[in-house]
Symmetry: C2
């Protein structure tokens, strides 16, 4: 366990006293005390909200060891507070165990080792107050700050009712709202779209959850998650539409994709009709249960925020069709924000003319969510829509081409070979699940789906108009919302280029922006023990949506990166890539070297014996192993270049660039490039382990969550992929440009791998693997293709620090 808190404020004593009074840990009579031990005791008693009588409280106090021989009751009866006794008790309140976790003789050493905050001198009322304030804001063994734990135990359960406004402490909203009373309502927002071409604007279903206190005048901000999956998915259909990966690569006609002319081709359609509004109400007529909620949103529901979910056009109970990332989906989600800010109509049902307003909303909105959800947050931000104050976009796509393609090649998201834009559109078309409604759009939906299949053009893999219409990077200069980006450094579903490009685009915008890079794959991180992510988001949203002056924008680090060698360690930095430092390597057979090299040619053939090919098809991990392992069945089918063992550690950060001079024996070809950390080491496991089952309470009698974090694997491993990249040799200049490729002719090219942030320890070797078919991602034609490299013209450049 190692404490990493970035959202803990350390105000001056006067502020601490004011805030402790606000949450009723202090009152005037306690402030009159001159006996620091008595004050300490009065504070500790309040850490047992479940104890309703003095008798019970005394049992709880006796349950705390103050020294190796006395419990808290015994100790405070005769001795005076000191820092050792204070932190002995504090550590127990933080759920650490005597003898197992720390020694009662020396709690401070444990604090130091685990990076828990402490004060050396605790001997008067001021120091007790100050240390107690800090303790309430310190993460416990489950990674939750003590005050949140106490709130889960009922500290705020008796809070004066009715709650009329949010309660802030240490810059963050506290869970004083009774979640048992939340209102769950469904409304239908009229969008600006008619994607199902029925002559009427599409209505989209919006599920909202708001504190009951809004009924009596409280206006609240909104966390809005646009989740196409939330109303269900068509998994069987998607499975059937999955594309075959075992198809040959083919030669493409040279040329340039036309990205602009097509705009004129859009058929002029008749303007859809706006729904007449015959009356307006504040009372919803439909409720809902069982929303597939995001725990970070749930957490805020206890703290004076509303949460809104909308799956969007083409989903169950909404009009319209899915378009997989097009501008229509962006607009549909943006329209929900317009309703929340009073700029657009919503109706109580899909067949009603009675409008309903978001009368309970204070007009400040954040968008949240991961993957497609975070993608829509990003997309809506690029519209600059008023009211959207910030987005927290996790593992978000910035350009759909970078999700399904790479440098002129069909490249599947990791774990989803054969998926493409049409598959995802069909999967999310949950409107199908209301059978009666589906019958009405069955035909137009089929046509629309066919158009996506055509548009995505798996045959070429080029960046074409279809993909250009799904590239949010083009519009990022219009972003007005502040942005938090979160991405897993091992995310091969939404690859790193997506977040990297967004981050670059944001650099010169007059907005606040933060970036968190973790060691996970395609996961949420709100329950990682080693990072106070939830607190950070609370600090951020209390500021962004309630206008609280808590200096979140300065306090949260510009970039946070989780260490890839040590568990539960996080680094702050203020840039991802600098071109000032570059590691450069030249190529000789089997080696990456720094000295000048002689002309040499190395070749490999991509075609595998049928049995080996069959094995790799069925067992991806076997291919992954053999690709990296010398002497395996992949031996003649790829080239491995390894550096000498590093004499000092290096942190690789940003975009690796590889320059190659290469030839192939056909008029088509693809290359894959993988950067590898070679060296025996116990590495972080791929997924976080559960450390405390249901160890985190998001409020009093509210949702619970497991505390998790990454552990080191039990056994050392000989390597780990750092990053990789792919390209079609006919797209060696641009993804939108096809060049001629003459057989057995050398071409020079420079290509970029996916961005990285990787600490490579001393003694390890850097490896670059040059290969063709990537069994997890590219098509797998198993063709007789021989690739050659003129090594003297090959270079590897790695930005680092």
């Amino acid at each position: 366990m190692r404490n990493n808190q970035f959202a803990r404020l350390e105000p001056d004593l006067a502020t601490k006293i004011t805030e402790l009074k606000r949450i009723k840990f202090l009152n005037e009579s306690l402030l009159q005390l001159t006996d620091a031990t008595k004050l300490w005791r009065a504070l500790v008693i309040k850490a047992f909200p479940q104890a309703k009588t003095l008798a019970i409280q005394q049992v709880k106090l006796a349950g705390l060891a103050a020294t190796a021989t006395e419990d808290f009751l015994q100790f405070t009866a005769h001795a005076t507070v000191n820092s050792v006794a204070f932190y002995n008790v504090a550590l127990q309140l933080l759920d650490f165990t005597v003898d197992s976790d720390f020694s009662l003789a020396d709690p401070i050493t444990f604090c130091q080792k685990t990076n828990l905050p402490y004060q050396n001198q605790i001997d008067n009322c001021q120091s007790v107050i100050s240390a107690w304030y800090d303790l309430l804001n310190t993460s416990n063994q489950q990674g939750q700050v003590l005050l949140d734990r106490l709130a889960g135990d009922g500290y705020f359960a008796d809070w004066p009712q009715p709650v009329t406004q949010p309660l802030f402490f240490n810059g963050k909203a506290q869970p004083v709202f009774a979640t048992a009373k939340l209102r769950y309502e469904t409304v239908y927002v009229e969008t600006e779209l008619d994607t199902d071409q029925d002559g009427k604007f599409d209505l989209v279903k919006v599920d909202l959850i708001r504190p009951a206190e809004t009924d009596t005048g409280l206006k609240v901000p909104v966390l809005f998650t646009a989740s196409p999956y939330n109303q269900g998915t068509n998994e069987k259909d998607a499975e059937q539409l999955m594309h075959k990966m075992d198809v040959p690569l083919q030669s493409k006609q040279p040329g340039i994709e036309n990205l602009t002319a097509a705009a004129a081709n859009v058929a002029a359609t008749t303007e859809p009709i706006s729904r007449e509004i015959t009356s307006t109400t504040t009372i919803a007529q439909e409720m809902f249960t069982g929303e597939f909620s995001y725990r970070l949103n749930d957490y805020f529901l206890a703290r004076g925020f509303a949460v809104v979910y909308s799956a969007g056009i083409g989903t169950k109970d909404s009009d319209g069709l899915r378009t997989c990332g097009s501008a229509a989906e962006t607009k549909g989600a943006k329209n929900v924000i317009e309703w929340l800010t009073g700029q657009r109509a919503a109706f109580v049902s899909r067949n009603s003319t009675q409008a309903i307003t978001a009368w309970w909303c204070n007009g400040a909105i954040a968008m949240t969510g991961k993957s497609y959800l975070g993608t829509l947050a990003t997309a809506v931000a690029t519209t600059g829509v008023a009211g959207l104050k910030t987005i927290i976009a996790e593992a978000a796509i910035s350009s759909w081409y970078d999700y399904y393609r790479d440098h002129g090649l069909v490249v599947a998201p990791g774990g989803f070979p054969g998926e493409d834009a049409d598959v995802l559109a069909l999967e999310c078309f949950s409107r199908k699940q209301t059978g009666g409604d589906y019958l009405k759009v069955k035909q137009v939906a089929a046509e629309q789906l066919a158009a996506i299949t055509t548009g995505q053009d798996r045959n070429s893999g080029n960046y074409n108009l279809f993909w250009d219409q799904r590239n949010y990077l083009k519009d990022m200069q219009q972003i007005k919302a502040d942005v938090i980006l979160v991405h897993g450094l091992n995310d091969w579903n939404v690859k790193l280029r997506n977040v990297y490009q967004t981050w670059q685009k944001l650099q010169n915008l007059p907005i606040q922006k933060k970036l968190i890079l973790h060691q996970g794959q395609h996961i949420y991180i709100n329950n990682l023990r080693s990072l106070d992510f939830t607190d950070m988001m609370n600090l951020w949203l209390s500021h962004e949506l309630y206008g609280l002056t808590n200096h979140a924008e300065q306090i949260l680090p510009e970039i946070l990166v989780q260490d890839n060698t040590t568990p539960e360690k996080w680094h702050t930095t203020d840039y991802w890539q600098s071109d000032k430092n570059q590691l450069s390597f030249n190529f000789v057979p089997n080696k990456l070297v720094t000295q000048p090299v002689e002309p040499t040619v190395c070749s490999f053939n991509d075609q595998l014996p049928a049995t080996v090919f069959d094995r790799y098809q069925k067992d991806l991990s076997s291919w992954e192993h053999d690709l990296l392992q010398a002497g395996s069945d992949m031996e003649k089918h790829r080239l491995i270049f390894k550096s000498a063992p590093l004499t000092k550690a290096v942190t690789l950060r940003g975009v690796p660039r590889v320059t190659l001079k290469t030839a192939v024996n056909q008029n088509y070809g693809l290359l894959s490039l993988m950067l590898v950390d070679y060296g025996m080491a116990r590495r972080l496991q791929a997924a976080p382990s559960v450390l405390a089952v249901r160890g985190i309470q998001l409020g009093y009698n509210w949702q619970e969550e497991n505390a998790v974090d990454f552990k080191l694997a039990a056994q050392p491993s000989p390597w780990k992929m750092i990053t990789k990249g792919h390209l079609n040799l006919q797209n060696r200049q641009h993804a939108w440009q096809v060049d001629e490729l003459k057989p057995n002719t050398y071409y020079s090219l420079t290509t970029e791998l996916q961005p990285m942030f990787y600490h490579l320890p001393v003694g390890h070797q850097l490896g670059l693997i040059v290969y063709a078919t990537d069994f997890g991602m590219t098509i797998r034609g198993n063709q007789n293709l021989t690739y050659s490299l003129a090594l003297d013209a090959c270079h590897l450049k790695l930005p680092n620090s």
Copy 2:
């Protein structure tokens, strides 16, 4: 998806009408209707409780397809109900998707294929009522009956308040209780024990959750889970106490364990003092949150049942010490039941003389839980305590010797090499986590732990007095509660012998008993999609605890067994093992045969080269693979005997018996025997897959749960272990008897493997592997031991059907 419901009652029409009126699907005016279509429509409308107005209801009805061309509204406007339209709509209400799951032209075929109940003729009011009743009790795509789903959507949310009694439908209690109002209270029961030897009876903490309606007179039954883990565990301490597995087997002195004499050795201690009761109250003074609840219990909290958790002696906030399965732990849990039935005192706090009664309890109690929890349910049942009506014991231990030992050998529970009774006692000693309280018993706890370490006697592995005191089988004739046993056929943590022995012991008792054998490992099965386990337990407990006449005892099958070859398939049977049918095999080198055989000797040596030994130590799956794989590194280190491919399928059920004539080159030795199914096949995966994330709602705005079930693995596998067993060759007669073993001398013995229930398909081969060190379970001395078998005196007998 395949429907398997065993708790669905099919009453006559009159009963169906009465019950539908009770849950307000029917009323007098609907019963006056003569138009079956109108009646159908009135019923379907009620399936959308989230729709609060007619307008919304109409949208919902229009969202249902009645035929391939018309929605429900259109269809019912002109056509009349028929079975095709009825089941088209019904399947959509059950969350099946038009076109993806079933064809609107023929829903009946889908019902047949998935084993969903249906009526062929639906054309009048009676048939609509009857079919609707059945539909409400039919499992949907997530494996939850429609009425439960509707309840989750809010069907009972507006139920007349206050609720004064439980509501039963189809023999089962319905979720009409508002879980937001549940009372969470802590009391301290005075036990009959003084395990921490402080001269006072140990108080144990009891956390109870009861419906608010008990405040106004409702008396409720209790689901009581005695869970030693619930107040936390000392994982680090347990880890450190783990015993080394890499120790040599040693020769034991012949002799017989004395199981009886020791009773006289128990020191007479002074009788502890009962706490004085100075007053009595009905009002608890301590509440709790965040109990580590069991979802099956949570489910009943919405249905008029209370739930009680108690971790027992030696756990956090309780007095006493852990004793790992001893009679003291049994008594401590039994004492909680005595409090619930008014036979014993509890106090409002550990330092109070104010008593509190379970005034809200109707005196009927069930015990629930898995593993140690189910073990305590079993143990308490053997006391015959009044008020305990039934236990639902899942993966329960019946004798701790069969958990940590096997036939004179230390044999770890699967997945926990090195664990033993002392480790578990320390792990559950969560009293340590209240540091101040821990200081008071630190010394006596250490002594007690040392006594367990001595008592368990890892050196001998014999069944001794320590284990005899932890053998519940001896007292099973005293069981008065009805019993449901649940166990995973792939559970190698609590091995099958535990449940098999309990089942045998129950056979002649005058109680009701049921057995469910599933294909899981050590898991709960309440959320398996393919079995209505939760409904079955509802039927059972409504009968057992509320006295409802629902014929649960006849309706629930005697034995339910999940099929090991086909997903989501369950068999009913009324016996586990019959000795009428026995497959018998003789041994020749490499083969199991049925004909008489000639004398032959086969040998193997257990000692592995250091590198191989090291690899197996680090990677258990590699050892498991090599053990079964011909030509592997295990080749000379075990004997494989295989039958000819089976010419007809066979179901192996019960206890395999192996007779061996064997010799070893030392005066000590151990043998392991594994029965294997050899044959390429796609087999069920080891763990269930999530089929619907949070797809099951346990009530309205209450807990949610994933729907899961076992899927077939994507790839075929060449084998699967059916069962195995181990023995110390010096305990060839009894676990409590050590015999002399002369080196290189043949001894005949017959041993029993763990019980099984296994369908072996035609064409597969039965394998028996004879080996010694079991890397996952036995000690691993890597000694130079050569074992020989005189094959002509070896036999394998398998009960089957």
